[in-house]
């Protein structure tokens, strides 16, 4: 249906979009190149190609500055949070989508309120609750928070479970499977596509999250990579060769996940917000 032929307008649009996309390419490319430059090279050859590839910046930040710790923190926190989020939100969505009971619609609406109010809005009472439960400065507390912030993934799972034929459930019951076994052994395996969507979108969001770690992880040894980079930025001019290396380290996992799963991330985000 679409025209392959491009008019003059099409060419102008292509050029404009190309220029726009160059911004990201230049910034990311420059960051990666700069991360392997020596400090001298960076100072006198700021935007050029590196004269020699040096991993000194990485060694310095990972070993001497213990950024490795922050990297591990980010990995552990993100992985645990995703697993917990996927498990709890899919289970809740399953309960909402596959069972008939009084107040089901109201409960579904209740669970989707979180799409409208970002968790930051009530951060202060949240902080007090977390402090009362001794969950500030703990990964457990963070995992619970990321799990509680489940409206988006719950919505995605809910849509999926609702569309499954009910015969699936009935035949499983006839086979004598328990309710949890049906969810775990039958429903979860067939929900793989949405599972990936939820996991990748959450990965990007949790890995990059700035606000919750800023508020709840004040101990330096618990800082995530995002926070560590923020700390470096405070002394930007003194350490900018390190910031390049740290930023490269933080960005590469996300870029890899994005390039591999871009379709899931993009379609997932789009599906999560069209819900008229």
């Amino acid at each position: 249906m679409h025209r392959r032929r491009q008019g003059i307008g099409g060419w102008i649009a292509t050029v404009l979009l190309t220029l726009y996309c160059l911004i990201a390419l230049v910034l990311i490319g420059n960051m990666i190149l700069s991360s392997v430059k020596t400090k001298q090279d960076l100072l006198f050859n700021t935007f050029g190609l590196p004269h020699q590839i040096s991993l000194e910046n990485f060694r310095q930040i990972l070993v001497k500055d213990a950024l490795f710790r922050n990297f591990l923190n980010s990995i552990i926190l993100t992985m645990c949070s995703i697993l917990s989020l996927v498990f709890v939100s899919s289970m809740t969505a399953y309960g909402l989508a596959r069972y008939r009971f009084k107040g089901r619609n109201a409960l579904e609406f209740y669970f989707l309120l979180g799409l409208m109010f970002p968790i930051q809005i009530a951060i202060l009472p949240l902080f007090i609750i977390m402090r009362t439960l001794s969950l500030t400065n703990t990964f457990l507390g963070m995992v619970l928070l990321y799990t509680a912030n489940m409206s988006f993934s719950l919505f995605i799972f809910n849509q999926f479970f609702k569309e499954l034929p009910s015969a699936l459930h009935e035949s499983a019951i006839i086979d004598g499977a328990g309710e949890f076994a049906i969810y775990w052994r039958i429903m979860m395996p067939i929900s793989k596509p949405v599972l990936f969507t939820v996991m990748t979108v959450s990965f990007v969001q949790i890995w990059n999250d700035f606000y919750l770690p800023l508020v709840f992880l004040t101990k330096r040894s618990l800082h995530t990579l995002t926070l560590a980079i923020y700390q470096y930025l405070a002394n930007f001019l003194a350490y900018w060769n390190f910031v390049f290396a740290a930023a490269t380290l933080a960005l590469i996992p996300v870029i890899v996940v994005f390039l591999v799963f871009s379709d899931q991330i993009i379609s997932g985000l789009a599906a999560g917000s069209i819900k008229e």
Binding site: A24, T46, M91, P118, P125, M150, L154, N208, Y211
Partner: protein
């Protein structure tokens, strides 16, 4: 669907977590906002005094109006400028112009970059001394274009808005793009046969199909605008940048709630009042937009 009590077991863990950490805090925020409380020790009931301070206290009122004004200005730019750009980008990709897959990927890409790194990029580009932009202008022999950017109160806000927009523009675009796939082919083909120009086809035939996604992007962008924090905080600092040009409601809230190290006092009650005001505004704006759009579109 099944009738069985098993749903209770499935829903309870999620219900408890979600209620405790997402919904209960909203209620508590309202409660705390009536107290003068530092976060420890005695809570002093002072009625609506925190709200009076936000709106009418000379110094606070000015800070509040400035911050809220910035939120609203950002929202206006997001709705009036970013959304048309998002629609245009989505449409070009929908028309499968040359390289559309690449464009879709690259326009979306900044969204996956963490705010700290976005802040770092902003410094790299806009730093007055070593920034790429000023260096570029000097190299091209255009010294009159050299600017202090974030250090220039006249344009700091717009530079920041540009940075935030670059970061997030892809999300709205893909939402609208997904909606474009729902436009029925036969309607579009009929218009092509009838000799409609690209512009007529877009304006009269395709745009009306995009209402649901555009409404959603408007609401989402507005919520996003009213809860701005990360990038302004990283780029402009806790005090809201030069002359408060980069101050936002959430930054003000953070300053008075968690900023004890900087201001020598924590005022949790006052902070709670700020957050109550901000979620009331979000609720009103979101409801208002839904209402207006429903009126406009369901004639």
């Amino acid at each position: 669907m099944t009738k069985s009590k098993a749903y209770i077991g499935f829903i309870t863990p999620g219900f408890i977590l979600y209620s405790l950490f997402m919904i209960v805090p909203l209620g508590f925020a309202i409660y705390y906002s009536f107290f003068n409380w530092s976060g420890m020790g005695a809570m002093d009931f002072i009625g609506l005094d925190n709200f009076r301070r936000i709106f009418f206290d000379e110094r606070m009122g000015r800070i509040f109006r400035n911050a809220l004004g910035n939120n609203f200005r950002y929202m206006a730019i997001a709705v009036c400028i970013f959304i048309p750009i998002q629609i245009a980008m989505a449409y070009l990709i929908h028309l499968r112009i040359r390289g559309h897959n690449f464009f879709r990927l690259m326009i979306f890409l900044p969204y996956v970059i963490s705010p700290s790194i976005i802040g770092f990029f902003a410094l790299l580009v806009f730093d007055p001394h070593i920034g790429m932009l000023n260096t570029l202008f000097l190299t091209l022999g255009l010294p009159q274009l050299v600017n202090a950017w974030f250090g220039n109160p006249d344009i700091a806000f717009f530079v920041l808005v540009g940075v935030i927009g670059w970061n997030g523009i892809g999300v709205g675009m893909v939402i609208i793009l997904a909606n474009m796939k729902n436009i029925p082919d036969d309607v579009v083909e009929a218009s092509i046969i009838d000799g409609a120009s690209v512009w007529q086809r877009f304006w009269h035939i395709e745009l009306p199909f995009l209402k649901p996604s555009i409404v959603n992007v408007v609401v989402l962008s507005s919520i996003f605008a009213l809860t701005q924090f990360d990038i302004p905080f990283i780029v402009g600092g806790l005090n809201g940048g030069i002359d408060g040009k980069l101050d936002f409601l959430n930054l003000m809230f953070f300053r008075y709630t968690f900023g004890d190290a900087y201001f020598g006092e924590t005022a949790l009650g006052f902070g709670a009042a700020i957050s109550v005001v901000s979620f009331s505004i979000i609720l009103c704006i979101a409801l208002l937009q839904k209402l207006v759009f429903n009126r406009l579109f369901d004639r």
